[in-house]
Symmetry: C2
Subunit: 156 residues, 2 copies
DNA sequence: TATTGTTATACTCTATAACTATA
DNA sequence: TATAGTTATAGAGTATAACAATA
């Protein structure tokens, strides 16, 4: 056949693959997130960490790792960065001297209010072409992903 | 509050974020792909490359890069690997002596038949909990992602 | 001048093993 | 003995700049 001048490339096999479409859309969503959050210097994983600590103050590092699917070892430098920026603190756990209780600082809570507002705008823009009903339908479908071997842990 | 013993962590803010859910589901899909394809030693990007060349024989490296959202520079070692395994060949373009025409070898076509069959089983398992109607609805929603700045190019 | 393929390189993300101090 | 946090490290994935050959 060999008839690929320009614009006429057959991608139908990949377009009908849920796995491939998920990957492309996720990459585009990541790019949009970066654009929207450029003023805050916060990446998706950092945002997830701040969010889960905001909503669950006192969590340990292992609990955060498990909740977000991160490796304990990889969480350490991420927390170092956020703590170094004064957004959160590691305080000794009164119950277990091996672990820390994670809390947002006052500054971290302030920042998160602004970041959350910006994130809401990002979500709005991300799903603008789907409409509110489409967005809800998509969340329901994404929530319905359960397959054999889906332990949902340790992905980074 | 500080009442996170175990299993009661509030992830509602992230669960209602399309960006976050996309990321988690995409990672789980990647893991399942790896499990299903373990006998073939082929990664998602390699599968995408093989697929687009199978369906569009004679494409140049730049065309493959653009179609899949890869950087030209990053495609080179990927093609080196696939060519080294005898799955595809770079042949000189008769029209442009700077570029190559990419084709699957006979062995590559054979392999792709088996790989495609396995990939179909992967897609089936991946979307098993959604059902056929849910899978089609999801593909339609994923296809509907168009937002400002979505050039869909250069992501890797 | 611009484009194709290539090299070199750097930065991020992810994964594993091993260590320490506690439990 | 098991677990929490840490360190070191290795492997992918992804990004940019620059080069030679060709258009």
């Amino acid at each position: 056949m060999d008839e690929q001048e320009r614009g006429g490339i057959d991608l139908s096999a990949l377009q009908s693959s849920v796995g491939y479409r998920l990957r492309r859309v996720q990459i585009a969503a990541f790019t949009l997130f970066t654009q929207f959050m450029s003023e805050f210097d916060i990446r998706p994983t950092q945002f997830a960490i701040m969010t889960v600590i905001r909503d669950n103050p006192g969590l340990s590092q292992s609990q955060v790792s498990d909740a977000l699917g991160l490796k304990r070892a990889n969480l350490v430098p991420l927390l170092d960065g956020l703590e170094g920026r004064g957004l959160l603190v590691r305080s000794p756990s009164p119950a277990d001297r091996r672990s820390y209780c994670l809390h947002l600082t006052d500054h971290g809570q302030e920042q998160m209010r602004a970041i959350q507002t910006r994130h809401d705008a990002y979500e709005q823009e991300l799903t603008s072409s789907l409409g509110p009903a489409g967005r809800v339908a998509l969340l329901a479908l994404l929530d319905g992903f359960h397959f054999t071997g889906d332990s949902d842990g340790d992905t980074g």
